[in-house]
């Protein structure tokens, strides 16, 4: 009896130790790079070194003032905003058609919409390159918004589809028996209840586009340089220390947005 207890106690202790090690290692690899960059960004050293020799906010000042950084940041914000709007403009009406209309093959359409998620991005981008070349979309703002929209549609479909499944169609029917037209019932009841999910989806689409580096490399041409592309390019020719500030800003803003989206999604439940 005592022997088994002793053995199981030992096993318990071992399991706990292994568990803790895994968690610490995991957190280390996840959190350390972020912390590392964060620390490095608050340095006024002329180039990146660790530990920093001097402290300050010069790098942030440079990012916000010099046009080299402002231009790609602005373009990225514009592309991301346009992507979010276009994606929702496509997916929200499609969702109503699929979930509330009598369209045959609903599942097939939904699966087709999610399909781009399954293709390797690089392979998909090559295909798009061929198509875009045909239609003269290479290196255009509209082109990159289209590519990012295709990229964002699957996730937005998944988000809105689950959210919509939780809104009972009877709510619309009830509104209609009480005198609301179908459109009014949709707008006043369904879209209203879907709003948190729609906002969350918009944030996800925005972040996906803002963060996207592959499509822009293939399709952006020389003229369109978004922030991720600019970071890639600048790393190739030597490291601008301001990258640490940009990376930190990116992480903080993205994390904030995603947190907001998660809260919104929770609220729509």
């Amino acid at each position: 009896m005592t022997a088994t207890t002793g053995a199981s106690k030992l096993l318990d202790a071992l399991a706990r130790l292994v568990g803790r090690t895994v968690v610490v290692a995991f957190l280390g690899f996840m959190v350390l790079p972020a912390v590392f960059i964060g620390v490095l960004s608050f340095s006024n050293d002329p180039y990146i070194m660790f530990p920093p020799q001097s402290w300050g906010t010069d790098r942030y000042v440079e990012v916000v003032t010099s046009s080299t950084w402002i231009r790609p940041i602005t373009l990225s914000l514009e592309v991301a905003a346009a992507t979010a709007v276009v994606t929702l403009a496509v997916v929200v009406p499609a969702m109503f058609a699929l979930k509330r209309g009598r369209v045959p093959g609903t599942m097939a359409v939904e699966s087709a919409g999610i399909a781009p998620m399954l293709f390797p991005v690089a392979a998909y981008a090559v295909g798009m390159y061929a198509v875009f070349a045909e239609f003269g979309l290479l290196g255009t703002f509209a082109g990159i918004v289209v590519a990012h929209t295709v990229h964002a549609v699957p996730l937005v479909i998944i988000l809105l589809s689950t959210a919509m499944d939780q809104i009972r169609p009877e709510l619309e029917l009830a509104a209609m028996t009480m005198g609301a037209s179908r459109l009014r019932a949709w707008a006043g009841i369904t879209v209203r209840l879907l709003l948190p999910a729609i906002l969350a989806a918009a944030i996800f689409a925005f972040v996906l586009s803002f963060d996207e580096a592959v499509f822009i490399t293939f399709l952006g041409g020389p003229g369109l340089v978004t922030l991720p592309k600019y970071i890639f390019d600048s790393v190739q020719f030597g490291v601008d220390p301001a990258i640490t500030a940009v990376a930190t800003l990116l992480m903080v803003v993205t994390a904030g947005l995603m947190l907001g989206a998660t809260v919104l999604r929770g609220r729509s439940r």
Binding site: R168, E170, L171, L173, A174, T177, G179
Partner: protein, 370 residues
């Protein structure tokens, strides 16, 4: 008492109501989904202020009929007249009716008061008048203190009362209720039946109440319409349907009757037949001859009494004491298992394996031919 209840379909059914009092008139309503004929010509008149229960097993077409009445589906052919106005092809919003759903369907983002006000808002009522009406309705359903609550904060029974108030607020000409008590537990269901009866008495709205629970139908309605395979299999006051079912389907579905095959032969008088069933012979007042079916309700059976008409003897398969009465299942040769509810006193020896002899008086037997 009449025991000839096999007229041509519909003739015996109490479908007609004086013209002036007709609230809803349904004529030859048909609906198919693909090859599946869900409604095969339904005719029904509803008097103003009448409480009609639409009862039927799942797949009988009762839900489709309700959805067509509400305007969620369109009929293939036929007419629906609400107060003389053909509404068959109007949108739900134009029909002026109220609906209560099984899962309440309250708007979760609106307060109870705003839920009740929804239909009034759609009708353009001024805020002041609206507020007064909402207060009245919440008073009616006994929830005046819940106006500012969210639906999610209320219990199931309370939510359904809000749904009832919401559907009645704008005084619709017809209230449709789709299994409104289906999501509630039994004691709450009984309480809500009471509540619905009271509200119906007070507001006098014409109501169609869909359910698959015959006790609910018995307790609530002025008339019961029983649906079977897309047609009305019975339409009458609940007591009449219960005691004199028009068909074997209604007998079995509505009054849980045992069906006993029998032969009716002429005994010299036109209105009286010699009946042979389960090895016994007796006379019953009926004009039917030939193969017939006798419907016997479980509570009409009793341990054999001299002078009764039909005697059923067999082995007890199952015997359950349910408080004041005992449920006995007896396997009778040539009939099959028969269910009886008998007074529990002196039935201690009525256990599985024993032979049991039951009987029923002539007045409790209904002769059916279909």
């Amino acid at each position: 008492m009449t025991q000839t209840l096999n007229p041509p379909q519909g003739a015996e059914m109490d479908r007609t109501t004086p013209e002036s009092d007709v609230a809803l008139r349904i004529r030859a309503l048909r609906k198919s989904f693909g090859a599946n004929e869900v409604l095969r010509g339904v005719d029904l008149d509803l008097g103003a202020g009448e409480f009609l229960t639409l009862l039927g097993p799942s797949g009988s077409g009762k839900t489709t009929l309700l959805r067509i009445l509400a305007g969620f589906d369109t009929p293939d052919s036929g007419q629906i007249l609400l107060r003389g106005r053909d509404i068959s092809h109007l949108s739900p919003a134009e029909r002026d009716l109220g609906m209560v759903f099984q899962q309440y369907a309250l708007f979760p983002h609106l307060t109870v008061a705003d839920n009740v006000a929804y239909g009034l808002k759609m009708r353009g009522w001024k805020p002041e008048r609206r507020a007064r009406r909402v207060a009245e309705m919440l008073e009616l359903v006994g929830l005046p203190d819940k106006a500012k609550s969210r639906p999610q904060q209320l219990s199931g029974g309370q939510q359904q009362r809000v749904a009832l108030a919401r559907a009645l607020a704008y005084e619709p000409q017809l209230l449709l209720m789709d299994e409104p008590l289906g999501a509630l537990d039994r004691s709450l269901r009984l309480q809500m039946q009471e509540e619905i009866r009271r509200v119906h008495r007070e507001v006098g709205t014409t109501i169609i109440f869909v359910t698959h629970d015959q006790e609910e139908a018995l307790a609530l309605s002025d008339r019961v319409a029983i649906m079977h395979e897309g047609e009305l299999a019975g339409l009458a006051a609940p007591s009449q349907l219960y005691q004199n079912p028009p068909s074997t389907f209604v007998a079995r579905f509505f009054s849980n009757a045992n069906l006993v095959p029998a032969t009716a032969t002429d005994g010299g008088q036109p209105d009286i037949a010699e009946i042979t069933a389960a090895g016994t012979s007796f006379t019953l007042p009926t004009a039917h001859r030939g193969e017939v079916t006798l419907a016997v309700r479980p509570r009409s059976l009793r341990p054999a009494v001299d002078g009764d008409a039909l005697y059923l003897t067999g082995e007890v398969i199952e015997s359950l004491l349910l408080g004041e009465e005992r449920q006995v299942r007896v396997r009778v040769d040539g009939v099959g298992p028969v269910t009886a509810f008998v007074d529990w006193r002196g039935t201690d020896d009525l256990v599985a394996g024993q032979t049991c002899r039951l009987s029923v008086p002539a007045s409790e037997i209904t002769v059916l031919t279909e």
